[in-house]
C-alpha cells in the first residue's frame, strides 16, 4: 500500500505528524511506500519528522504566504493523479479536513475525518474508527477499495523527533499561483500562543460555572500553585475570559495531563474528548448529576470557588484563613 502524509501547514509539521503517527503505525506492515508532501512558504524545510516506517520520498511544494485551501487543492490534485497512492492522510484541523474532504470528493475516495484508529480488515478494505453523536460514542466505518482520504484526530503528547531525510527530496517545479481571482486580499494578525496545553502535565480547566472573569482571575493563583496550565470550556473562551488556545475538547486541544481538575464544567461528550487521555481527573460541580462526574475519578459536589481557593492554600502550605 502506498501512503502519503500531507503537511498543509509547515508551522505545525511536528504536531501534525504526531497526530498521524498512530494511524500510520497501525497499517505500517502493509506500507510499501510512505511519501511526505509538505507545503511551505519561505525557506524550504530541511528536517522532517521521524515516522514509524522510513520515508520513501519527501516532496516540497512552495506556496504563497498563508494559502487558503483552494490554493493548495489543484496542486494536490495534480500530484495525487500522478502518485496514485492508496492512502492520503491529513491533520484533522479545519484546513486539513477541508483538503481531505475535497480531495476525497475529487478522487472518489473513501473519506473519513477525525479518525482515532484504523486497521486493514482485508486485502483492500480499511476500517476507521471515529467519534459520532457529539463524541459520546464511536463508530467503525468500513472503507472499501482505495483510495482513501483520512484526517487524524489529535493525539496528545510529544512531537516526534526531526531529522534530515535519507530518502530523495523532490522540489515541485512551479510554485502554486499566488492568489485565486476571488480573493482580493489577505491580512494576517498573529495571536501570541504558547501551545502548552496539549503537552501539559497538570491542567486546571474552568467552565461556565466560574461565572465571571473576576472569579476566574481570583483562581489563576490556584493554577500556579498546582503548577498547572489553565484550560477552558467553550463558554469561557466565547466570553473572552480566557484566550482561544485554552479551549479543551474536540474543537480545541486534546490533552493528556497526569492530573486534571475540571471545575464548573458540565462535561458534554465534545468537551470530555479533550480530557479522556488524562491520568487522574477531579471534577468539581454544584450539580450532583452533571455528566462530568462520569468522566472523573473523584468528584466534589460543591461551589468551585471555596473548594479551589482552599486547595490553593493547602498546596502553598498557607496557614488556615
Amino acid at each position: 500500500m502506498k501512503a502519503v502524509a500531507v503537511i498543509e501547514d509547515i508551522r505545525e509539521m511536528g504536531a501534525h505528524a504526531r497526530d498521524m503517527i498512530p494511524l500510520l503505525s497501525s497499517v505500517a506492515d502493509r506500507l510499501t511506500s510512505l511519501e511526505l508532501w509538505v507545503f511551505y512558504t519561505g525557506t524550504p524545510p530541511e528536517a522532517f519528522p521521524c515516522w514509524p516506517v522510513p520515508l520513501t520520498a519527501v516532496h516540497r511544494m512552495a506556496v504563497a504566504h498563508d494559502p487558503v485551501p483552494d490554493q493548495l487543492l489543484d496542486l494536490l490534485m495534480r500530484k495525487a493523479a500522478a502518485a496514485d497512492a492508496d492512502l492520503y492522510l491529513f491533520a484533522g484541523t479545519d484546513n486539513g479536513n477541508c483538503l481531505a474532504a475535497r480531495l476525497g470528493f475529487r478522487l472518489k475516495a473513501g473519506t473519513c475525518l477525525g479518525v482515532e484508529s484504523c486497521h486493514m480488515t482485508g486485502e483492500t478494505t480499511l476500517a476507521a474508527v471515529r467519534p459520532v453523536f457529539g463524541s459520546r460514542i464511536q463508530a467503525r466505518f468500513v472503507l472499501d477499495t482505495p483510495p482513501w482520504c483520512l484526517s487524524a484526530a489529535q493525539n496528545p503528547g510529544r512531537n516526534p523527533a526531526m531529522a534530515e531525510p535519507v530518502c530523495p527530496v523532490c522540489d515541485h517545479p512551479q510554485p502554486a499561483p499566488c492568489r485565486p481571482p476571488w480573493l482580493t486580499s489577505t491580512r494576517v494578525i498573529p495571536i501570541e500562543t504558547d501551545d502548552r496545553l496539549s503537552g501539559a502535565d497538570r491542567i486546571l480547566v474552568l467552565g461556565n460555572g466560574v461565572g465571571s472573569q473576576d472569579t476566574l482571575e481570583r483562581l489563576k493563583p490556584v493554577a500556579r500553585a498546582l503548577g498547572a496550565q489553565m484550560g477552558a470550556s467553550r463558554p469561557v473562551v466565547m466570553n473572552g475570559w480566557l484566550p482561544l488556545d485554552r479551549l479543551v475538547g474536540v474543537s480545541g486541544s486534546v490533552t493528556a495531563p497526569s492530573v486534571c481538575i475540571v471545575a464548573g464544567v458540565s462535561g458534554t461528550g465534545v468537551f470530555c474528548a479533550g480530557i479522556r487521555h488524562a491520568g487522574f481527573v477531579v471534577a468539581v460541580n454544584t450539580d450532583p448529576d452533571a455528566p462530568v462526574f462520569r468522566a472523573a475519578d473523584v468528584g466534589i459536589v460543591d461551589d468551585l470557588v471555596p473548594v479551589l481557593l482552599e486547595l490553593g492554600r493547602l498546596i502553598r502550605g498557607d496557614e488556615p484563613a
Binding site: 480573493l183 462535561g267 473523584v298 498546596i315
Partner: protein, 285 residues
Amino acid sequence: MNLTVCFKIIPDYEMVPVHRWEVSGLEPLALRFVRQAFNCYEESALEMALALGETGGSARQDSGSPASAVLGENRVARTALTVDDERADLFLRHLLAVGYDRAVRVAPDQDLRFFPGAVARIIAAAVNRFRPQDLVILGPRGGEGDHCQTGPLVAELLGWPCLMGVSGLALTENGLLEVRTITDRAHRIYTVAPPLVLVTGHALDFSCLRVPTLNQKLSARKKPVETLLPADLGLSVGYLAGTDPLPAELILPAPKQTCTRIEGADPREKARNLFDRYLKSRLVS
C-alpha cells in the same frame, strides 16, 4: 446579497447517560425521544448571517428590529435550510421570527445522518434552485454523524471556493465581502468576491442566536415553512449512490470506573480531603 445558512438540530446527548444508550443498528434508541436543540456553531452561523448588513455594521442588534431592515444595495436576503424531518419546523419558525426571509426544509425519504455526501448534494441542489445565491454558510461539525465534511463537499458540488473557521462577516463597498477567520494562532481578514461557501468556527462575537419578541413570533406564524422533497430538486433515489462509507457498527465506550465522591462538612473540608487523600502524593514531583 443572497445567502443560505444550513443547520441541523441535534439531540441533547447529555440527557441520557451513555450506559443507558441502546444501540440498534445505527440508532442509539435512547436519543430518539430526547429534546432537540441547535448546535452552538450553527447558532453562531445563523446569528452572523442575521447581523450581516444590519445598519450599524456587524455588531449585534436589539432583537426588536427586523433584520431585513437594511439599506438599498446592501439588502441581505436570508434563507435557512435544513435537511430533516418535521421536528425541525419549530426551529425554522424561530428563524422566520428573528428575521430569516425563507425557511426551507428538505424532507429526505431516508435517514441521512451517515450520508454527508447525500446531504451535501441536497444542499447544493437547493442552493441552485434558490439562485442567485452569493453565500452558503455551514457549521464545522454536527448533524449527529459529526462528519466534518458537509461544507467542503457543498463547495465542491457548487464549484465555489470555501473558507473555514469563519468568525465574522462584513459587506464592503463594491459588492465584496470581508470574511474574518480565527484559529488559536491568528486572525485573518480576507476580502473576497462571492460566491463562496463559509464554514464557521469560533465566532466570538456571535455566541448565540437572538430570541424573537412576542410580536415577531406572532407575525412569523403567517410565514410558511417551505417543505421540499429531494425529487422536487431533481434528485432521485440515486443521489445516495455516492462514496459515503457506511458505519459498520456503533461502539459504546467501555464503562468507566465509578467516580468516588469526596465528602466533607463544607467546601474547605472537601478540599482538604481531596488534597490529603488524592492530590498530595500526586503533586510531589
